[in-house]
Symmetry: C2
Subunit: 250 residues, 2 copies
Amino acid sequence: MSADSKKELYIVGLGPGARQKMTQEAIDVVEACEVIAGYKVYIDLLKPYYPDKEYLVNGMRQEVERCRLALETAAGGKKTALVCSGDAGVYGMAGITLELATEFPEVDVHVIPGVTAALSGAALLGAPLGHDFTVISLSDLLTPWELIERRLAAAAEGDFAICLYNPSSHKRHDYLQKACQILLQKKSGDTICGITRNIGRDGEEKRILTLDELLETQVDMFTTVFIGNSQTRKVGDAMVTPRGYRRDNA
Amino acid sequence: MSADSKKELYIVGLGPGARQKMTQEAIDVVEACEVIAGYKVYIDLLKPYYPDKEYLVNGMRQEVERCRLALETAAGGKKTALVCSGDAGVYGMAGITLELATEFPEVDVHVIPGVTAALSGAALLGAPLGHDFTVISLSDLLTPWELIERRLAAAAEGDFAICLYNPSSHKRHDYLQKACQILLQKKSGDTICGITRNIGRDGEEKRILTLDELLETQVDMFTTVFIGNSQTRKVGDAMVTPRGYRRDNA
């Protein structure tokens, strides 16, 4: 970490929730910062460990405002951490903040990576992302649904293992079903899939099922979904995508 | 962690190299294990911190043997950690070990995720993976080159941000060039790309360039390559893929 005279903002990925899942670097950065900014749920996870920090807390839809506030705070001379769940960059706030940061040339912005749900959910299931994979969000809040469909079709065409973020919400309860229908045009109904829920938190759950079964399954917004490639197998109670396509790679 | 009577093997992702990049969970697991197994380079990173562990070290091409040895050691009653760089599952040893573990039903196998190069390299560059992305390895050691080509074409077709692992080796010095040629059939030569090298280690480097420039660039096996989607921008000295396709998402 650099001298106190510098104005610094750290965008920190916390991982899947529990402090134990943070990297040592993320822990060091949070400890070194005077101000912690973030969405209420993540702040509530940190506060018990760091009761003496200054906290900037706001709601879910106020992300651009939160980034700006964090930049202003850093520009004011207080070393600031803007925290988000999972990784700082994967559907995270690193991008928006770097764009806004052009208005604050005096602030050095550092991105501190974290374990995104694709990795933490995969570890819970076994090794579903052991070979080439795609990560696709089913949220059409900022992305046209047509593009999401095109990406699902491309992922199936490439026989990628697939990890789906935001598979459902109150308004989009049938999106996972729609996604499965697109994938089933190219993939077998027997394809091994996995569901993880509340990764790294109370009520952590996992389930392995086929793509045909996934089509009939209702999930919520705390769920991350994994869809195997043509080689993915159920091994004991684990979901495993082998690292290769040759027989000697068992 | 569970009672000592249980036979346990942990497959641990160390992240991009430095101990600071490990998760707290990975640090706790390594500290709690009696035996650490792994490839020489990663063992050398851990040894200074844990001089009193029993180490099982072997070479790069002996991975199946290493997994079996780790399982045998755990089955013998010694709590064992099998460590790998990055994440334990992404082209890592979790899959092979889970497959071999069916021969050792008395051993509980746990996968501990870590920060894979797609995330650590992305953080170094800014936020290149801020929207849907694919991870593709250019190594054809275990995968037919035709399938790699098909995946590159599908990734371009879906306008994914792309992260390339193993972009080069002594025998495959022109693979990145071949990959760029496939991508250029669907993507603009002006597409913003990024290169990271020796992430989290001495000699860490990054560079932002266009896809046309990447085509002419020689990289080595310590490099991770990022190729933007159609919305990816250079913002200051950062590579940023916005989280959405709508104008109000800045």
